[in-house]
Amino acid sequence: MKLIRVDMTNATVTTRDVPEEFTNLGGRALTSLLINAEVPADCDPLGPDNKLIFAPGYFSATPLVNTSRLSVGAKSPLTGGIKESNVGGTVARDLARLGITAVVVEGRPEDGKTFVLKIDENGEASLADAGRIWGSRTYEMVEQIRDQLGPDYSVTGIGPAGEMQLSAASIQTTDFDGRPCRAAGRGGLGAVMGSKGLKALVVHKKGNAPAPLADPEAFKTAAREYARAVRADEFSGEVLPELGSAVLVAPINAAGALPTRNAREGQFEGADHISGETMAQIIRERGGKTTHKGCAQCIINCSNEYVDREGKYVTSSLEYETIWSMGAMIGNDDLDTIARLDFLCDDIGLDTISTGVAVAVAMDAGYKPFGDGRAAIEMLEEVAGGTDFGKVIGNGPVAVGKHFGHPRVPVVKGQSMAAYDPRAIQGMAVTYATSPMGADHTAGWVVDQSLEDFGGTLDRFSAEGQVEASRNTQIHMAAVDSVGICDFAQSGLAAPGGLENVCKMIAAKSGKAFTEADWTDLGTRVLKAERDFNRRAGFTSQDDRLAPMFYEEPLPPHNKVVIISDEEMDKTFDF
């Protein structure tokens, strides 16, 4: 299997076999282990020594459903630590179909040159001058590339925010319909791509050389079983197709855990207007799509197409996190404005979470009133325009806090939290605080375990059991992110015998035995590498803490603060 190294300093490309020590790895395991091995931990994230790594999941382009996750890794300019952010669309499948296990982008052009990296149908990679594609927003970028190369390529690239190397810049990739609406949002990886002068990675979709399966029949049998479980599950088989992740708005609001107006409250009075149920109704009435396939090989179709009153496309996949960050978090209850902000983030190449929270911090500091959607749109346009204040917003919530001298900045390791307030779900406090990624909800989502009536066993306001739950989930997720299964298809793993089934597939691909203990070892190995990198980058246990506001300000309506002690936090990773 192939590992492509792209040296941006000399504009050269070399393709080699994957080194022995990295065989049978994919996704986050590969990006994090490579970064820990090859990137100097103290390097400038935007300098030549950082590396930007793209790696499809281990299962991408196999017969298993919902496996089109691409892990993107680097040292993060937002957190200063290691970063893996993963994204759907088709690119993971496209790379894996070409037998490409990873693309490692290193160095930096000396003279401000900019490039597009193309990988053709034979898996041959080449750099070309970006020309006038540099400077475009992402929808325009995709159009220009399609004009040049035709429709058979996926496009993964940056917008103006990444070109300006702003810390909230995302890497956008094309969805199943070829729109750049799927984002590796977190950690400012778009800025790293921009620092390397790389506008886009363009990959042919019709490769025909995927990694062989050692035992194709065993793999297919297990994959069929997995798909059956995904379809049979109520949430992935029925709820997500109809409502998408936006279905979470109402219950999380009911639980008092929906951070509102820069996390001053845990319930938003406008939640009804921005709920998944309302969104689906609006989309249906206007003739948009409530059920939409966002990623290759998906059988869930959690995505949607949001349209305006005239039925014209506004954005694709209006999701829970964005509805929160551009809705409740900034006090905005207008879905049309949220959809517009979502589109602008995709088009400018910005993480919707960090950007929404940046806007929320600015509003909290008194720059504009909460709920002023027009002001939020203007702030995003300022980012695209590269004004001084636009750069502050585009550098994320910490930069905004500094700019205004405002202390209420809901972050860990410089990265903003997501749509679950840790004061109302203590387990999320542990995940946010201890994940090597900074505050990241996907790193260890323990909400279901914490809301008792969801069948959970934890008291969400008590510290008891939270550390263990978060640890186990973080280890599990590090493995999930490595095989590249979509989070929403985890019902296949949660079903009886699900994990055993996944282990069977790993063994059936690699030809080597793989047990459930190996699964835990894989997740642990990834986390160890990530923590090792962070330690060498200067992180200590003091960085495994939430922003002071979470310990000091009780969150209405439950009026709780985070009560997990520092000692308990430090027990999360006892390795």
Binding site: F235, T442, W445, P557
Partner: protein, 79 residues
């Protein structure tokens, strides 16, 4: 006594005639609890996530007084 009920997620599929805009008014015997309400609505226990009464999450043993707003949610998963 009556309570007004709103169903979330795909739960309306289990309650024929449910209207998403107006919700539902359900008549219950005095002193009925939330569990009794769910049973009467015909929502299978396996489909139940959580229930809030006047904005607060409650358990199924919560006794209703009449006049409350009850919101019924499905099991969720996320990330």
């Amino acid at each position: 006594m009556n309570v007004s009920v709103k169903l979330f997620g795909t739960l309306p599929r289990h309650v024929p005639g449910y209207d998403a805009r107006s919700g539902l008014v359900v008549a219950l015997p005095e002193g009925a609890d939330v569990g009794r309400l769910i049973e009467q609505l015909g929502i299978p226990a396996s489909r139940l996530g959580m229930v809030s009464v006047d904005g607060k999450l409650v358990k199924s043993s919560h006794r209703l007084q009449g006049g409350e707003r009850v919101h019924v949610f499905q099991r969720i998963f996320g990330g």
